[in-house]
Symmetry: C2
Subunit: 314 residues, 2 copies
DNA sequence: TCGTTGCGATAAGATCCTCTTATGAAAAAC
DNA sequence: GTTTTTCATAAGAGGATCTTATCGCAACGA
């Protein structure tokens, strides 16, 4: 049964339908002898006669009739493969496994998932939220299709594209609202609250204050989310830095003040990365556009809120 | 999608399983470039990349993963075709449509169907009981596989084999039991009860009495079954002829007498016919053996009963 | 950083398969 | 009895598929 071919199945089906070699051959677009040979070969392959050649008509044998519905079913399945392929040709479809770092996920995802669902119906999005090193590892193992992280990643096996750059802002207790913005070095002397180890944002914040990773600030509090940090500031425990993106969400229900730094403002660049070999490259570029659009929407929203709250703009 | 081949599907499956071209090729018994080419061709056919070629590993794309289970299902179905063929190779299997004339069916079928069911489990027997011309027509149209009729049929398109020959016996009212057996011509003068037009047995009986079909006997009664004929005789309405085969069943509950004719006894030959082109020929020969065995069992039963009832033997 | 190694892609030629046209044989139709 | 219809067979052309040899690329090790 190893040498059965699709052609033979199609020819079988045509012959069963027409009951006539010449007409069936015509329907298949081949000559009558070609069909005779293929049917014969198929019968040899199967080891049973499939058709009864009468003087005036060709009929399925009882055995052939057992084959016919199964063969039709197989041909249908194969045609369906074609349908699926055709349907997915230019459309982004199937599973998309996307990783996002925790300091981006809660702000970006609601908007992004909404847009993806609207723009790419039939796309099955899986989200993984964890820290950069694990995302990169899973990406390289093929367990993720892409990741949204802070650049640069600098992995030879990965392609990275920039999505946007955002500044960090200082979050202080509401009472500090009017005070001058401290110099980076001055922040070192304040009670600076930071995320726990492993978050790239922690390193970025430390780096801005010119702090070495081996000489941590006086009193660190290892929070697991920006939300916790802001709540801590609100409780008067200290100050913290958060990315602009998080301002709208995190300061909404807290009486804290937000202050921009003087130039050069601290910032981070968020980008998308994927395996250089990924065949999804072109689709991922499409996705990156959707991400930018989602960010844009967030920014507008943020700006609107900033105006209402009288938060210093840039 | 018209040029997909089974080979490609098998190669796809192997590559998906091994995640490695060389090993997959080895598993398929071909060289690595051959596999590369077929996969590439398949991808072109589909219009999508199915595998992601990484530096160190080969993985299914998300799209490929949608294909994989379907392809496995198709391969499974094809293998099943092989299984079915192998299982049916030497065994008589599937549907067997058998036609039987009404003057044989009620006596032969109980035993025959029992034997067929016992000897060929999995054989799906369909029985059609009607008169010879219709059986022959349905046979030639391919709506029956074989028919059991009185020979000869003399159709060029049909093969016929003899199953057995049986005599006709005279059935008279029980009161006539001791009377001498009449000459054939004498029967003509008796009130001879016959089957309705169309039954071959009617013609055979008439022929025995040297009656032309255009000069029917004085008082015909067109019965639709031998059973009816015997009941009529039992009621004293006349006499009839029935084949030996029917004696045991039909005279069991009637007080009629059965008499053999003097040589040459009237008789008929029952045989099996099928299309000369039927691929079932060899299986039908097997079937014919089962029929003979069934007839033999009937005869023995009949002989036993004849001995008990003191019916004249031959 | 530079060979080395492993892997898949590509190239060129041999082989096998499948198709076509031409023809044969058998049965049916006229 | 001749013609027609139909499927099978034969022989050769063309195409598909395989093999061996080789390339290019990336990862790995010294």
């Amino acid at each position: 049964m190893k040498n059965l071919t699709f052609k033979q199945l199609r020819y079988f089906e045509a012959l069963a339908r027409h009951g006539h070699f010449r007409r069936a051959a015509e329907a298949c677009g081949i000559s009558q002898p070609a069909l005779s040979m293929q049917i014969k070969e198929m019968e040899e392959e199967v080891g049973m006669e499939l058709f009864e050649r009468g003087a005036r008509q060709v009929r399925l044998t009882g055995f052939g009739e057992e084959f016919a519905p199964r063969i039709r079913e197989i041909l249908r399945s194969v045609d369906e493969l074609g349908d699926i392929a055709r349907a997915s040709r230019d459309r982004l479809v199937g599973r998309l496994r996307i990783g996002v770092i925790p300091t981006v996920a809660p702000y970006l995802l609601p908007s992004l998932l909404g847009n993806l669902g609207r723009l790419h119906k039939g796309l099955d999005v899986h989200v993984r939220e964890t820290q950069t090193p694990r995302l990169i590892q899973e990406l390289e193992e093929g367990r993720l299709d892409t990741a949204i992280v802070a650049l640069p990643v600098s992995e030879a096996a990965l392609t990275e594209i920039t999505l946007f750059t955002e500044n960090f802002v200082l979050v202080r207790p509401g009472a500090d609202a009017g005070k001058p913005v401290p110099e980076p070095e001055a922040v070192r002397e304040m009670r600076l609250l930071l995320l726990e180890e492993g978050h790239c944002f922690r390193e970025q914040a430390l780096s801005f204050c010119n702090m070495d990773m081996r000489t941590p600030p006086r009193d660190v509090l290892d929070a697991s989310s920006l939300s916790t940090l802001v709540q801590m500031v609100d409780a008067g425990i200290g100050v913290t830095l958060i990315p602009e993106m998080a301002v709208a969400v995190e300061t909404r229900s807290a009486s804290v003040s937000v202050a921009r730094f003087k130039d050069p403002e601290p910032s981070r660049t968020i980008g998308m990365v994927w395996r250089r070999t990924s065949p999804l490259a072109s689709q991922l570029l499409q996705i990156s556009e959707v991400v930018r659009r989602s960010i844009g929407a967030l920014r507008d929203q943020h700006d609107g809120q900033r105006a209402r709250d009288n938060v210093p703009g840039q």
